[in-house]
Symmetry: C2
Subunit: 418 residues, 2 copies
Amino acid sequence: MSIQDTVRSMAEQSKIAARELASLSTESKNRVLNVMAESLVSQSEYIQKENEKDLVAGREKGLSNAMLDRLHLSDKVMDSMIGGLREVAALADPVGEIDEMVKRPSGIVVGRMRVPLGVIGMIYESRPNVTVDAAALCLKAGNAVFLRGGSEAIHSNLALAKVLQDALASENINPAAIQVVPVTDRSAINILLELEEYIDLIIPRGGENLICFVSENSRIPVLKHYKGVCHAYVDEDADLEMATDIIMNGKVQRPGVCNSLETILVHKEIAKAFLPVIATSLTETGVELRCCPQSKVLIPNAVEAADSDWGMEFLDLILAVKIVDDMDAAMEHIAAYGSLHTEVIITTDYGNAQKFIREVDASAVMVNASSRFNDGGQFGLGAEIGISTTKLHAYGPMGLRELTTRKFIVYGDGEIRS
Amino acid sequence: MSIQDTVRSMAEQSKIAARELASLSTESKNRVLNVMAESLVSQSEYIQKENEKDLVAGREKGLSNAMLDRLHLSDKVMDSMIGGLREVAALADPVGEIDEMVKRPSGIVVGRMRVPLGVIGMIYESRPNVTVDAAALCLKAGNAVFLRGGSEAIHSNLALAKVLQDALASENINPAAIQVVPVTDRSAINILLELEEYIDLIIPRGGENLICFVSENSRIPVLKHYKGVCHAYVDEDADLEMATDIIMNGKVQRPGVCNSLETILVHKEIAKAFLPVIATSLTETGVELRCCPQSKVLIPNAVEAADSDWGMEFLDLILAVKIVDDMDAAMEHIAAYGSLHTEVIITTDYGNAQKFIREVDASAVMVNASSRFNDGGQFGLGAEIGISTTKLHAYGPMGLRELTTRKFIVYGDGEIRS
């Protein structure tokens, strides 16, 4: 069979499975998620042996240590996948929820019922644990999932899929509910992105190149988890101790993630009191500061910022620093350089807090809290499949509910339209 | 300027206007909508003179009477646009609504605030009144709108845009909030569909060809108002009088619209009692019946259905008729031939009603009510900009709220993540 035919016929099977999943009871879904967790425990030797093949091939190909680390299904990663399955089993099932039920003047009773999206296509790079994490969330929300991981993780992904599919089969659920595309050729992605009759949503997870490629080539709607260029604005009358805590936490606690801080904007009236202090704390923990000309005067040891540093996602212990005239200037800077991810104001001024919350466009806008809170778990959504920085369908962390949609339901008693 | 540069620089202006609109007060939006209504009244002579140019050109080009009718801004159409503006002014403003506010274990208070989408691109065909209807809804939801109507309506659309823009200017609102692309060349559509940095959503309104073209060529998310192939299933123990009323209403009241019925599916045990009766009522009002072999036995004068009649959107006084073994067979038929628009069951059986509501996939699923109710006004959303048959973001009628999204907002007191 050609690659085209293979991918197409698998996607067709996904669609059939999706129809079956849509009416599966919560109890059945939870039970199979727990069976999957047990299977990962009992099959861990097999999975790690297959993973070893990918690691050997990766070393031969000369993958970096960071990439090999992402590829490795260590005992710790195995435990986290197993725990993840059990956590998703414990989450509330959004499918079938009904709300906004109203009686209309015509006599009909109209409401909205939450239903699965159908088939979700995940396109991701090296981490094989995404296979299990994504499959669990999609399944719980009643969706079939069609997974296309990185070629360097193919043995691991196929092994994980086999274990999950065996668990589905043991519970009399169509194993096509979770499928991994076995084709490592890149053309499989292009084929997948055109199968709009079978796939309802594409979620790419990976670097900027992958996400751009997917959104430029997809005929299927795409939910983008794009880069996080997060700012903290320190207002004129901020509590400086609080500002220090929030900036340190945002930059240092885990600099490699999307909700870490990349730039701080400091009101000119407070810069002199604040910047030398925060600069000391930051540089002591190894943070490199890249400063605008005014702030460089106050932090002489800092690097001068290049134009390209504004709007840069460093994902590292680097922070851009800029002095602004007022909150409006800060909001202008954020509108120009932000990535619609997370924006923070530190202030004691009520009016400024409310204006910032209302007017800044980002998936999460925060007053006096760390940008690191922009996360499905922290926001109370349970596990998340990503953080959407596009505004359609979902904006911000995507939990189970964001993997569903709502249809209208109507209960009538013979009403007709006049 | 090249077409490329013209379209791009206009879209850039739309984006600037969108930022201004996002923080406009409800009062300002309502006031300008009412000023627009007054301007349409006072400028009706100018608008109808420009419309006459399109009508003359249309007649010269040999447009059909139906197309000329859609193009005509008659007094009645003018009144409906003016009434529409006032109605939208009277609707509640969704922007700024906050819900799901919760305090999290970390101490932060998290909620969701409804915000505009940004810039909405409308691509539509001959009806120039869409210019005003769409502009009103987009504006009320805080969005800028970038309109690209059919080339045959260009004078009408530009005249309407001018009147609306003058109204915006008179209220000190950026006139770029409502723009009509002045380029009739079809290449303008392709250019528009690639401006993902300026346009947040595309809504195409028109025939199947336009919608397919837009969704195949757009890099921007598209909300599709696709065809309506709506079914009514008459269950074994349906109230036959009710079934007759609902089917007559669904087929005859306005056959040219997307929520009219195209096929009826009748349980085999009730076919003999029901089909001859409904056939008489339907044929008396001029409906042509296209029957499966079994139903043709009961309605001898009917046409035999061709395979292509299942799933056909007739938009005319034609109805396909099929006898099915049971509700499962009806649901299989709907899954195979439906268009995710509106599906109806007529039954007195509680279990079947609930199963049909739960398991049928369509933007609206109804028990004992006419398919003609699938409409924003009838469902209580106020005016609608279309009916989405795609599941992402909105599924079913799209009112003001569907032209917005929700961002997360966080009120903290210095919380950081541990």
